[in-house]
Amino acid sequence: MYTVELGKQNDVEAVAAVDAARHAMFEARVAADDFIEPKDWMPEAYRKTLIRQISQHAHSEIVGMLPEGNWLTRAPSLRRKAILLAKIQDECGHGLYLYSAAETLGISREEMTEALHAGRAKYSTIFNYPTLTWADMGAIGWLVDGAAILNQVPLQRTSYGPYARAMVRICKEESFHQRQGYECMMQLASGTPAQKRMAQDALNRWWWPALMMFGPPDDNSPNSAQSMRWRIKRDSNDELRQKFIDVTVPQAEALGLTIPDPDLKWNEDRGAYDYGAIDWEEFYAVVRGEGPVAKDRIKARIDAWEGQAWVREAANAYAAKQNQQAAA
């Protein structure tokens, strides 16, 4: 590209020097655990990585409403229905906090929505699995939200201020999600043999996808080092996965349910559980959009967005008319 604005070689060097100085200052601030705020100078790569990470996180919250919405009208009691409704509303709220944080980086809500619908933006692979029975509502709260909490707690100290603040609010609310799920599992696991079988079946189906939520193994996670340095990722995928397994196995034992992993064994030397091989082929297939219900999920989002376009248009038209009358 021609440097139209920069006529002389000296100018190019001067700009490069200023950029290098800013860059060094930025890296030093982040390394000192200082927060970066929206109007501060930041490297383009940092901005882009954050937009990708925050918007994908937001999309996950929004798409995550769909598998649970599937059971809303079939909840077994009014109590369970009210709880599930509140949880789904929280997921929507989480999506909105995060979209609002991403927007401070200079991307619009419409661009993010468009990227999701066009398949350019990803969301968590976990939501491309179907929710086949009511017990899945318990298993999702317990395992999926449990895994999400471990992923998210460190992000409360992430380097980008608006992201960190959104994560503080989200983490406060996630604990309810996990506990209501565990309570739901407790009730099923101590119920009739059929209910207990249903709980075990849900654990069997959600265990491995939940482990995959922490992302690929560390030796196959190309962007991790840079993200760690920028404090937008604070623990490695494998560390968090191990932590999740170690806290969850005793919870399953308390339920009287069996983790579907024959290789799972306490390792006295490590002070941690050894676990079986994860099917990463399945993970990458789901990332590529080959999950069992991936197409349904995106179709549901597009239908909602397009089907409700008239509401947004009507609201805008009404506001324009009110403004006109106020001005007259």
Partner: protein, 94 residues
């Protein structure tokens, strides 16, 4: 054509006696709908007793690049702080 809803900044007063505090933003066609959306998004658990919304475009912010020039002069005016003044130990209540 897709209607783009304007952006509003949301401020919540946690309880009377405290000032409103910025919590995030919402998209809404007008101020009334922005209040509705802010209520749903930011006060689901009794986080507030009062809400403010204002169009994001109405905010003028200081430039972080000029933060030194704006705020540094305060650093060399230590005489604005009470500890700048030495008072003998036997003098009390001051």
């Amino acid at each position: 054509m897709t209607a783009i809803l304007p952006l509003w900044e949301v401020f919540v007063r946690a309880k009377n006696g405290l000032s409103h505090r910025h919590v995030g933003s919402v998209h809404a066609a007008d101020a009334r709908m922005a209040i509705q959306a802010a209520r749903d998004v930011y006060t689901r658990r009794m986080e507030g007793v009062s809400l403010w919304v204002l169009p994001s475009a109405a905010i003028t912010a200081s430039d972080p690049g000029e933060a030194d020039a704006l705020f540094a002069p305060a650093a060399d005016k230590v005489y604005r702080h009470p500890t700048f003044y030495v008072v003998p130990d036997n003098v009390k209540h001051i």
